[in-house]
């Protein structure tokens, strides 16, 4: 049986003038999968992510996200995805509850539902005591967990995480991955970028981009075997270094 696809990308090309940021990318992401998107700074990850989120138009290629076309159905894509970046999207001068209410409202949820789900969420994250505190006053690790929860608050089909764990302590980093696993278990497809190579090992499959192209794609254990490497860090260093020497 063929696995259901959440994202299909065929021959994606994105040029900025004469510079080719994405050079003929082809890959699929399956439903409920944790898909790691790796690459050196400037490899073209952010360019591709923006296209998949419907924020930027490709130069050419066939791209379908959550069942919608990236040329003609960007609004539908935006309704069906969640996004969280390292420079999170939460408002520092709103309280914890206000941030949740704001995002629930943006995604068109009813206030009654927002209240109920916000209460459940605040309790689940252990934020009851700081419910009405400004976001600026709570620790980074809590903010990051909240930002992730807000990004999936409207039950999107796909969530894009752009370096979600930068700077947090090693315990919080792992708790964050527990949340990613839970979300994937509920059927949400996860596409995540990271510079922590141990986190690459936690993905179902990873794709490594080098100079705008896909250099390798597969499960972490496949890539480690193919490159004759010890771990994903070695795989990454081998592939990314090769590019620099060319």
């Amino acid at each position: 049986m063929e696995k259901e696809k959440a994202i299909t990308v065929k021959n994606l090309v994105k040029k900025f003038g004469s510079f080719v940021a994405n050079d003929n990318l082809t890959f699929d992401v399956y439903k409920g999968e944790i898909f790691g998107f790796l690459g050196a700074n400037g490899a073209g990850k952010t360019t591709a992510l923006k296209i998949l989120c419907g924020l930027s138009s490709p130069t050419s290629g066939e791209i379908n996200v959550a069942g919608f076309d990236v040329y003609s159905e960007t609004n539908k894509i935006k309704n069906n995805i969640g996004y969280m970046s390292q420079k999170f999207s939460l408002y520092e001068d709103l309280t914890v509850y206000e941030n949740i209410r704001f995002y629930g409202g943006i995604y068109g949820l009813k206030l009654k539902d927002i209240r109920k789900r916000a209460d459940e969420l605040i309790q689940k994250l252990g934020l009851t005591n700081v419910r009405n505190e400004l976001l600026s006053s709570i620790p980074l690790g809590w903010k990051q967990k909240l930002a992730f929860s807000v990004a999936i608050f409207h039950h999107p089909k796909i969530v894009f995480l752009d370096e979600p764990t930068g700077g947090v302590d090693p315990v919080t980093r792992r708790e964050f991955w527990d949340m990613i696993y839970d979300a994937a278990g509920e059927g949400i497809t996860i596409m995540v970028t990271t510079h922590y190579m141990d986190e690459a090992e936690y993905c179902n499959r990873v794709c490594i981009m080098v100079d705008g192209r896909i250099e390798a794609i597969g499960t972490p254990s496949e890539l480690i075997k193919n490159q004759n490497a010890e771990n994903m860090n070695d795989v990454f260093l081998q592939l990314a270094r090769k590019a620099k020497q060319q």
Partner: protein, 303 residues
């Protein structure tokens, strides 16, 4: 000989205690790492040492100069690369560098040898405004500007945050070279794996230093037994291992789960327990702790 001495420095912002009686010393020519996550107090400490912020209490001296009385002297001998890019976005690469050289009464030419290895990589773009550079190029320019007056002490606040694994390795190679030139370096990072590249490190968490030592000694002093465990179902393995022994520390580490305990662990008992819980392909082996294992264990002791 101690080149940098920090004695009981504390700093609060309102009710929030950012630094709690922090003390350590750094030898001349040492590459000293301050390792910890956001909120550990690294930036506060560095801003106090570079005389940009006043401590509430405590004292420190750098190359024999007091951070309060001799702040002007300290500013002449310290090179500082802040965590946030702080150069002039609308000046070009060359203009930024010339500006910092002039402020310190020198020229690019005079100290070119020192920055050559880094600057050569961005020199082709020297007429481009700093605001239009990629992250990696900004980092190289900021380091060049911090070095242009030939500082005795280099203070780098998270220079590798958000930087990919290849560029991070290259950056540490550069630091090694500056160390060989005799520059004393204090560098902070949230990446635990970078600790092993320092001569000595301070592991920091929530304003407190949990341990200071060489990376090798920190690993050597890790008391609990450490096992690396794998099975067919890693997610459930994590759950089952946590249920197995309440006094243990159980975390995912890449392809394996690290299982640490103060008590002696009988590997065949553990193996049977996992098999009885439906796990197949169980692999258990003793493992050498990483700095991250040590950090996690110390966090547990401190909480």
């Amino acid at each position: 000989m101690n080149f940098v001495e920090i004695n009981n420095i504390s700093k609060s912002y309102g009710t929030h205690k950012a630094l709690l009686e922090t003390s350590f010393s750094v030898k001349k020519g040492e590459l000293f790492g301050v390792i910890g996550p956001d909120g550990a107090g690294k930036t506060t400490l560095f801003r106090i040492l570079t005389t940009l912020l006043l401590a509430d209490s405590g004292s420190a001296n750098m190359a024999g100069f007091d951070i309060l009385k001799d702040y002007k002297k300290i500013r002449q001998i310290v090179g500082y690369m802040p965590g946030k890019f702080s150069l002039y976005q609308d000046l070009t690469i060359e203009e930024n560098l010339a500006f910092f050289a002039t402020i310190f009464g020198t020229t690019i030419k005079e100290n070119y040898e020192l920055i050559k290895d880094i600057y050569i990589q961005i020199e082709p773009f020297k007429d481009r405004p700093a605001g239009k550079l990629s992250g990696g190029m900004k980092q190289k320019l900021a380091l060049s500007c911090a070095l242009i007056h030939k500082p005795e002490i280099l203070i780098l606040d998270e220079p590798t945050t958000g930087v990919d694994a290849v560029s991070r390795t290259e950056f540490w190679d550069l630091l090694r070279r500056f160390k060989e030139m005799g520059i004393t370096i204090i560098v902070s990072t949230p990446y635990m794996d970078e600790a092993s590249l320092c001569d000595r490190v301070a592991l920091m968490q929530e304003g407190k230093i949990m341990q200071i030592d060489t990376p090798a000694n920190i690993v050597k002093n890790y008391k609990p037994e450490l096992l690396a465990i794998k099975s067919n179902n890693m997610h459930d393995l994590l759950v089952k291992l946590r249920e197995y022994n309440l006094n243990s520390q159980v975390y995912l580490f890449g392809q394996t789960i690290h299982f640490s305990s103060n008590q002696t662990i009988n590997q065949s008992d553990l193996n049977n327990y996992l098999k009885n819980n439906g796990h197949t392909n169980v692999e258990i082996s003793t493992s050498i702790p990483t700095i991250e294992d040590c950090f996690l264990w110390l966090m547990k002791q401190h909480n």
